[in-house]
């Protein structure tokens, strides 16, 4: 039983960055923009959080800085895909390459070739009240994890119960209709990308600021791409995306556990498992009817 609770706790922890990133991507894609800059945004979010945290010795400043950088990354995607109307695939990859390159450059500039891994202050796990008894360890999480969980119903509410959400969904399905109805398509897409960027960068910052307070070049390791898959997998719906994130969190947690137990399978196989499962899921899911109809099409006023 303990094992199950521990795994559940690990699942939540591991799922947190995925959840942030995937929810961020939901905003973007529901507004009609495929944001492949997600991987780079997470990476530069991780770097920014760590660097600012290290320099200022404050996790909160680090987090704030990461969020800011995320917003800027979203704005860049907006400039490329909305204002300029460039191909979304290449814009996203360009953004990822740019953000990654910038992050590496700045890191190398700040720490030339450290023999000792530099460390920043980090978030610590919140201790749960003892009254929870055996379930206590399930609630031993970072504050940010609870924030991520909160964003699930929050995102649902924004999309389906606010004017902004109505406008955003309209823009993602039929931007001409939204435009005619007086919705500012460009502004909505920019907003969606910037909110998304903030969330993605937070996911990245979680990786560097939670637990260890370090930054490595492999810190994101393709989680951005998994988040993209999760969004498709979850039919662009925040609740289903949450389910997907939990599933992948569980798989990854399982992999870590098995690795710790010294199971004979090379750990890389377990690392690869989520990716393979995603591809399988994509093959099975096929073309969803909930595909935002205007996804990938730039909008230009005649």
């Amino acid at each position: 039983m303990d094992v199950v609770i521990d795994l559940a706790a690990a699942t939540l922890r591991v799922a947190t960055p995925l959840l942030f990133a995937a929810l961020g991507e939901v905003y973007a894609e529901r507004a009609g923009v495929l944001n492949l800059g997600i991987e780079g945004t997470m990476f530069i979010g991780a770097l920014t959080g760590f660097l600012v945290g290290y320099v200022s010795q404050s996790v909160w400043l680090g987090l704030l800085a990461a969020v800011t950088v995320g917003v800027l990354a979203g704005a860049l995607m907006g400039l490329l895909t909305v204002t300029l109307g460039l191909n979304q695939h290449v814009s996203g990859l360009g953004t990822t390459l740019l953000a990654t390159g910038l992050a590496l450059f700045v890191y190398r500039l700040a720490f030339s070739a450290p023999s000792v891994q530099p460390k920043s202050p980090a978030f610590s796990l919140l201790e749960p009240p003892a009254a929870l008894g055996p379930f206590a360890s399930l609630f031993k999480q970072y504050g940010l994890t609870y924030v991520a969980l909160l964003f699930v119903p929050l995102t649902w509410w924004v999309l389906y119960r606010t004017t902004f959400g109505l406008n955003l969904r309209a823009v993602g399905e039929n931007p001409e209709a939204a435009d005619t109805a007086g919705v500012n398509v460009f502004r909505v897409r920019y907003a969606a990308l910037m909110i998304g960027g903030a969330l993605m960068a937070t996911g990245g910052a979680f990786l560097s600021l939670a637990q260890l307070g370090t930054f490595t070049f492999g810190i994101v390791a393709g989680r951005g791409w998994i988040a993209i898959a999760l969004v498709i997998f979850g039919s662009w719906h925040p609740l289903k995306v949450f389910g997907g994130a939990l599933l992948f969190g569980a798989l990854s947690a399982l992999q870590l556990r098995l690795q710790a137990e010294g199971v004979a399978i090379p750990y890389q196989a377990l690392l690869a498992l989520p990716y393979l499962v995603t591809i399988l899921a994509l093959a099975v899911a096929g073309r969803n009817t909930s595909y935002p109809a205007a996804l990938l099409k730039p909008y230009r006023r005649e």
């Binding site: 119960r161 004017t163 959400g165 969904r169 039929n174 109805a181 007086g182």
Partner: protein, 533 residues
């Protein structure tokens, strides 16, 4: 009291003068028709009123006050609404969400409250609609009603309807006219843009005729007639027969040869996996043109795709030629190889815009220009030059297809198709969007193909065109043929009824399924559906 006054409106697009100094009045509580041919300037004038365009000169007064609109938001604020031919609806949203879009206030959006408000508006104007239905599940007529409701919900007192009946069945048109009358009785003003004389006479109180960007007349409807309106519209007394043949002649009395195209009980699903064709049976013989008439959305698209090899029927067969080659599950390449020439309704989906004219002409038959994998570009160019000359295409072989006008593009497609002497020609909306000259040319070519012995199946939403060119006419309704007649038996009213699902004649004559004069009893026609089930 005039609710709208437009004075001296001038609008130019480059060298084209769309409105050349127009004065237009709209009174309160009237239905005012704006009549004119394609390009007369009616749509432009109303788009100016709705704030989509700014006039180069002139002024607009709403209830006596001068206004300037920089966008539709300004017009809407003054209570002016526009329902255009292309709906601005989000298919996956409900009716309530669509109407609420852009009209909500505050951060929260409460769908239930919106639905209640929409129902209230609908009840006020007696427009029947369920706010909770997703728009994509509504019929075209119902979607139009949602568009109208959108304007009414925003407290519009002026409603502009741009060619509203283009996509409606006759029955839906009746509903619309009744709705317009109710609106007018409640004191709203409706501008009805149209080029259809009978509708204008049926629904309007006043009619203004535009020609070449100018007003030529403005009269109360009861003081005018179809004939005089027609004369004003085109500047000469027009033949009052409702269809114009553009001077293209048909050799009457010709008898069709052996069947070259047979559709047998064809069933097919559309993109949403709903039935689009439900047991369509038709035969086209050599040397005849069979025109398929019908309101858009009754399966024409799917029929065209089935015949092109782009969609496989779920049941039934398609057979070509006197050697009865089955092409039911053929690919587009195979269909072409079996002598079927296809002129699709969407020109842009039949040419690759960024490839050259020569490449587009050759792509369907690359085998001829290939030598062990290598492309013979010289041969392609020579063939292109020959076809350009023969079909009068105003382009050179190396021009990109993107630079061609609609008419030249259609000529390119005709050249590609007809130069191979296909025994069957499928033409879908062959003259859509073309000017008079190009239209005449295309129709002439179709007649030529027919005279050469090809079996031509023409699918067209333009009833005039069908009446002008066909030897036999079939009417498609909800995926079935509601009637097949010879051209001499057909008249617009009867066809209109069939287009709405009802057949005049419950018993089909022997001429219907087979074009020949063969009077031997055919297979029992009980499986040939007539009218609604």
């Amino acid at each position: 009291m005039n609710v709208i006054e437009m004075r001296g409106i001038v609008k130019r697009f480059g060298v084209v003068i769309a409105n050349a100094g127009i004065d237009f009045d709209l009174a309160e509580g009237e239905a005012h028709a704006l009549l004119g041919e394609n390009g007369a300037g009616k749509s432009t004038l109303m788009k100016i009123l709705y704030g989509l365009y700014t006039p180069d000169a002139g002024e607009i007064r709403v209830r006596g006050r001068t206004v300037h609109f920089s966008s539709p938001a300004g017009a809407l604020a003054q209570g002016i609404g526009l329902v255009s031919q292309h709906f601005s609806l989000v298919p996956t949203f409900t009716v309530a969400e669509n109407i609420a879009l852009g009209y909500t206030s505050g951060v929260r959006f409460d769908e239930r409250a919106a639905a209640v408000a929409v129902s209230a508006t609908a009840a006020r104007f007696q427009l029947d609609i369920d706010p909770a239905t997703q728009v994509r599940h509504l019929s075209v007529g119902e979607q139009q009603r949602v568009e109208i409701l959108k304007a009414l919900h925003r407290e519009c007192r002026v409603l502009i309807l741009d060619e509203p009946t283009a996509v409606l069945t006759p029955q839906e048109t009746e509903s619309l006219f009744a709705a317009i009358r109710r609106l007018v009785e409640q004191g709203l003003s409706v501008v009805f843009i149209s080029h259809k004389l009978d509708e204008v006479l049926a629904v309007s109180d006043r009619v203004t005729v535009l020609r070449d960007g100018r007003i030529v007349s403005e009269t109360p409807t009861r003081e005018t007639s179809q004939a005089s309106l027609a004369r004003l519209m085109v500047g000469r007394e027009r033949d009052t027969t409702p269809y114009v043949t553009f001077g293209v002649s048909r050799s009457d009395g010709a008898v069709a040869g052996p069947p070259l195209l047979r559709l047998e009980d064809v069933h097919a699903l559309d993109d949403r996996r709903l039935p689009a064709l439900r047991g369509l049976t038709l035969t086209v013989g050599a040397g005849e043109i069979v025109g398929v008439a019908g309101v858009a959305g009754n399966g024409q698209r799917e029929l065209s795709q089935v015949l092109s090899g782009l969609r496989h029927p779920s049941r039934g067969r398609v057979v070509v030629g006197d050697d009865s080659v089955e092409i039911t599950r053929a690919t587009p390449a195979e269909v072409t190889a079996h002598g079927v020439g296809r002129i699709p309704e969407d020109r842009l989906a039949a040419v690759v815009a960024d490839l050259t004219v020569a490449e587009n002409l050759a792509l369907e038959h690359l085998g001829e220009f290939m030598h062990r994998g290598r492309l013979d570009r010289e041969k392609m160019r020579r063939r292109a030059e020959a076809l350009i000359a023969e079909y009068g295409i105003k382009a050179s072989p190396d021009d990109r297809a993107r630079t061609l006008s609609g008419g030249n593009l259609q000529k390119l497609i005709l050249a590609r198709v007809l130069s191979r002497n296909p025994r069957v020609v499928i033409a879908a909306e062959p003259t859509r969007g073309l000017d008079v000259g190009a239209t005449e040319y295309v129709r002439g070519k179709l007649l030529e193909a027919r005279d050469r012995g090809a079996a031509v199946l023409m699918i067209s939403e333009d009833l005039d065109e069908v009446l002008a060119l066909s030897d036999r006419i079939a009417v498609i309704y909800e995926g079935r043929l509601s009637g097949v007649l010879s051209a001499s038996e057909a008249d617009p009213e009867g066809l209109g009824l069939m287009m709405a699902g009802r057949s005049q004649n419950p018993q089909i004559s022997q001429m219907d399924t087979h074009g020949s004069n063969d009077l031997r009893p055919s297979a029992p026609s009980a499986d040939f559906p007539v009218g609604r089930d």
